[in-house]
């Protein structure tokens, strides 16, 4: 009975919402680790080494995270295709901006930009990390992470691409975060609180990531 929820349109929305909230939790954790690089090379190296070598993080949480990312994107594109088919022939004139925000109407676009960014991000950090540990099996070095990070942000082009991508992430979160709670069924007095938290979170976290990227670009 419970599994049959996910065969329905509401169930598919629920899966999008839950996977989105899961990614928001991961994003928060990722930010909290990255921001330490601004204040302390030692703390950043310590946390990165822990995350990169703890077997639970590596072999349990990491596969769950990768599955969550892939699932959220695949489901998003799948639902977009279904939704477009539901319209059939489109309108000749459609004044969507008169009754809904650009952000809410273009989640697939902002999500698509974030997906492209993730390819670059994986190429920059995840692929070399996997190569270091599991392909070339190089010796463990707990102090290499900070140097690798600042090396990446020496390039102003990469720093700019990261910054623009985070703006699209902010747009995606501005609608997606609070919307996911509505899908879960939250409709109480707490919803206003969720909306306010969504606004602060969606601006603060991406802005923080932009700050980290620009900080290392300017300081090194």
């Amino acid at each position: 009975m419970l599994i049959s929820i996910f065969k329905s349109s509401i169930g598919k929305k629920l899966l999008m919402a839950l996977s989105g909230i899961f990614l928001v939790v991961f994003l928060t954790q990722h930010f909290l680790i990255n921001i330490t690089s601004v204040f302390s090379e030692e703390i950043f190296n310590f946390l990165s080494h822990f995350m990169g070598n703890n077997p639970i993080v590596q072999f349990v949480l990491q596969p769950i995270l990768i599955f969550g990312v892939i699932f959220h994107f695949v489901m998003g594109f799948y639902l977009e295709i279904i939704n477009r088919k539901s319209r059939g022939r489109g309108y000749t004139r459609y004044a969507g901006g008169q009754n809904a925000s650009w952000i809410s109407r273009n989640m697939i676009f902002s999500g698509g930009v974030v997906l492209l960014f993730l390819f670059l991000h994986f190429y920059d950090f995840w692929v070399p990390e996997m190569n270091y540990k599991y392909v070339e099996v190089l010796p463990i070095d707990p102090d290499r992470y900070y140097e690798e990070l600042i090396h990446k942000f020496e390039s102003p082009v990469r720093t700019s691409i990261y910054s623009v991508s985070f703006i699209f992430l902010a747009l995606h979160l501005l609608h997606g975060f609070s919307s996911s709670f509505k899908t879960i069924g939250v409709n109480s007095k707490y919803y206003k609180l969720i909306k306010s938290f969504t606004f602060i979170f969606s601006i603060f976290i991406p802005l923080g990531f932009i700050f980290i990227a620009i900080f290392h670009n300017l300081m090194h």
Binding site: S9, K85, R87, T92, R93, N187
Partner: protein
């Protein structure tokens, strides 16, 4: 007022439609949009041309019959109205107006601007009722106390006239505002609890079978709804759905 009209014409469900341009004058700002179409149709009849088919009935904003997507918006450029409540004073002399039918795969075009909204009827038939026998044993309303807030929410949901503007305006052609209103109007009240589970499960199932899209919470539906049905009802329906499944 003199206007340029670009109106969708389509012979029937099987033919491919297209836009036809018309110019019309002698329109006064006090006319309703439907009266303007009446004037155009009278001219077409006099010219022995097939008049434009469009839905209308009460012309008082009650029945939900009139549809039309006017200049990119369901029921035209105003909030909280049906097309029969749209007046020509909302347009300027010389304006170009594009008139299309409500477009959704679940609302096939019957002719010109008339669409088949019987998908809504089938959703309603699948669970939008209570089976309490009220003939001969009607209780006094005060014997079942209901919280004012619940009574208000149920009444607000019950004002849905099933016009389909929510589907027409939603970028996903989703019917969730309509279905959620029909679910909520009963789920807030004790009389609706008997069939609560079957109602929400059957109505959502029927909605999915009809091929409507998924809600992405853009909120466009509640803006265009002539009765101001809130998307809070969608969250309410989601909760009812999860409760029924679990």
């Amino acid at each position: 007022m003199k206007l340029k009209l670009k109106i969708w014409r389509q012979e029937n469900v099987d033919t491919k439609g297209g836009f036809t341009n018309y110019e019309i004058d002698d329109i006064t700002p006090d006319m309703s949009f439907l009266e303007m179409l009446d004037v155009l149709n009278q001219r077409l009849i006099n010219e022995n041309i097939d008049p434009i088919s469009f839905d209308h009935d009460c012309r008082e904003g009650i029945c939900g019959s009139c549809s039309l997507f006017i200049n990119g918006r369901a029921h035209g450029p105003d909030k909280g109205i049906t097309t029969c409540q749209l007046h020509m004073r909302k347009f300027k002399d010389g304006d170009s107006i594009v008139v299309e039918p409500f477009r959704a795969k679940s609302f096939p075009i019957i002719k010109d601007l008339v669409v088949d909204r019987s998908a809504f009827d089938r959703i309603q038939h699948s669970g939008g009722y209570i089976s309490i026998n009220t003939s001969g044993n009607t209780q006094d309303a005060n014997t079942t106390p209901i919280r004012k807030e619940d009574a208000d929410n149920a009444f607000d949901a019950a004002t849905c006239i099933g016009c389909g503007a929510c589907v027409a305006t939603c970028k996903n052609a989703s019917a969730m505002l309509y279905v959620s209103a029909k679910v909520s109007q009963f789920s807030y009240l004790p009389q609706g609890q008997v069939e609560a589970k079957e109602r929400v499960l059957n109505m959502v199932k029927q909605m999915d079978e009809e091929g409507f899209g998924n809600c992405t919470n853009t909120g466009a539906c509640e803006v265009e709804c002539p009765k101001g049905i809130s998307i809070k009802n969608i969250a309410k329906m989601n909760r009812e759905f999860y409760k029924a499944k679990i």
